[in-house]
């Protein structure tokens, strides 16, 4: 009789578990590095992400990237997201041949769209280590570096791992990704004489690796650190750039919303450099010295 009761309880619980259940599984604990968890079936989150990129070592350069994103749990293992991208840019006192043709001060502009999906093979809370595949497609019509018109289509695939330690008080995540990009710049009429601004379509491949760790210092509060390496290969020049960013992150998560603030600084970089670049140990053409990333998410 007792065994029958236990079995009945197990199957009832199995039924309960099969009902649409929602969760906070997909919240961003870091600025760049992604976790391996997906949203449960029928759960939805809305995110607002802001990335402030600043300082190219010469002149003034500040760019803001905004992404407003909606993520939905299609199943307990697969979640899909769609996002609208906007940007603003203020740059002056720096001209980079082939990349930054002139001073530019643009207000908030719609700059692109993105679609992504994440499939969780192993759950970090249930299996020894969590493993997911993340895929995204992006279409942008503004060059994020110069603010000039540029059509960019990119596809990205990443493998995400996540491991819980200390019953979840310590979280370690790693990402390994590959992004393929097709880009086509629009011509610019009033370029300086001799300035190179190729308008032939180009293909780029980018490799990414990131790792991050965060610790719950108090209920709702996590403090962490993350580092990521990116390198890009382009049709004509081979390895065009590489960079290593690292920095601290702080995360707050409550029952209804969460927020993450991360400050990342470029530790080292290489590849192409602009003329008279003073800090030759960094890549400052497509990257900046600092990034300040804020993400806020709301659970529904």
């Amino acid at each position: 009789m007792f065994v029958l009761c236990r079995r009945a309880a197990f199957f009832t619980a199995a039924f309960v578990a099969s009902l649409p259940a929602t969760g906070i599984a997909a919240e961003n604990m870091f600025g760049v590095v992604k976790g391996a968890e997906t949203l449960p079936q029928d759960a939805m989150e809305i995110y607002q992400k802001v990335n402030r990129r600043s300082d190219k070592g010469q002149g003034d350069y500040t760019a803001y990237d905004f992404v407003t994103e909606v993520e939905y749990g299609v199943s307990n293992r697969f979640s899909a997201a769609a996002g609208l991208k906007m940007m603003r840019l203020d740059t002056q006192g720096l001209i980079i041949d082939g990349y930054l043709p002139k001073a530019n001060d643009i207000g908030l502009k719609l700059s692109g769209i993105e679609f992504s999906g994440k499939y969780m093979f192993l759950s970090p809370a249930k299996d020894d280590i969590g493993l997911s595949m993340y895929m995204s497609a992006n279409y942008d019509w503004i060059d994020p570096h110069s603010g000039q018109d540029k059509d960019t289509l990119s596809f990205e695939t990443e493998l995400l791992t996540q491991k819980y330690f200390l019953e979840g008080e310590l979280i370690w995540a790693t990402n390994l990704g590959l992004e393929a990009t097709y880009a086509d710049r629009a011509a610019i009429d009033d370029l300086p004489e001799g300035f190179e601004w190729p308008t032939d379509p180009e293909m780029e491949l980018e490799l990414k690796f990131g790792t991050a760790m965060t610790y719950r210092v108090a209920p709702k509060w996590f403090v962490g650190v993350e580092a990521f390496y990116e390198t890009e290969f382009e049709t004509e020049v081979g390895q065009e750039r590489w960079s290593v960013f690292a920095g601290p992150s702080i995360h707050y998560g409550s029952a209804t919303w969460w927020g993450t603030l991360a400050f990342l600084t470029q530790l080292e970089g290489g590849g192409e450099q602009y003329a008279n670049q003073s800090d030759t140990s960094l890549h400052l053409i497509e990257k900046t010295k600092q990034e300040l990333r804020l993400a806020v998410g709301f659970n529904f």
Binding site: F2, C5, R6, A9, F10, T12, A13, A14, F15, V16, A17, L19, A21, T22, G23, I24, A25, L39, P40, Q41, A43, I46, Q48, V50, Y64, F66, T68, G73, N76, R88, D90, D105, G107, L108, S123, A125, K126, Y164, L166, E167, G168, E169, R216, P219, K220, G253, S254, A255, T256, W257, V296, F298, N299
Partner: protein, 182 residues
């Protein structure tokens, strides 16, 4: 102020969308005692003070660390006769601690489990009787593995895992420190 900066603040109203109202405390300790031992006539505090050596033993037997040095325990009696033990414990949730109570009889079988406080966004299904009943009859020798002998709840996997591991740890505590005291 820079007009572009003002433009950049358009998303800020999103921050007021979320409703902060969530019930977090469902039962007091006294209410949980009555639910788990409705016929008991006496609950006598018998808290355990655990040394580092005790905690190390618990971890090696339960597979989960014992965070607290003081484990709140009550000896439960009915008309002077021992009924079992009532233990209050906290486990790590996604954002905050989950407080729960476990009733264990003299032989080391779980009589019941109640969630006193659950402060997470979702996954409140752990409070459902059908989920909690899976623990009834469990002993320290059972598997306590999600989706094997305890069903997982998607979206609350960490909570399910830590509650499951927590009940096993309490059974180990009973086996090591309370059963000999009987």
């Amino acid at each position: 102020m820079d007009k572009h900066l003002i433009n950049s603040l358009w998303f800020m109203p999103l921050t007021v969308i979320a409703s902060p109202a969530f019930a977090v405390d469902y039962f007091s300790i006294e209410e949980a005692q009555q639910l788990l031992y409705p016929d008991a006539t006496a609950f006598t505090a018998a808290n355990l003070s655990l040394t580092d050596e005790h905690k190390s033993t618990i971890k090696s037997l339960a597979g989960t660390r014992q965070r607290q040095n003081e484990q709140p325990v009550w000896r439960v009696e009915k008309d002077g006769e021992l009924q079992g033990w009532f233990i209050i414990d906290d486990v790590v949730g996604k954002h905050e601690y989950i407080t729960y109570a476990t009733a264990i009889d003299q032989q080391g079988n779980v009589l019941g489990m109640e969630i006193l406080s659950y402060r997470e966004t979702h996954g409140g299904e752990v409070r459902r009787e059908s989920w909690r009943e899976q623990f009834v009859g469990k002993t320290a020798g059972d598997t306590f593995k999600l989706d094997e002998d305890i069903q997982n709840i998607s979206g609350a996997t960490l909570s399910c895992r830590n509650l499951t591991d927590g009940v096993k740890r309490l059974l180990v505590i009973h086996e090591q420190f309370l059963r000999p005291a009987q």
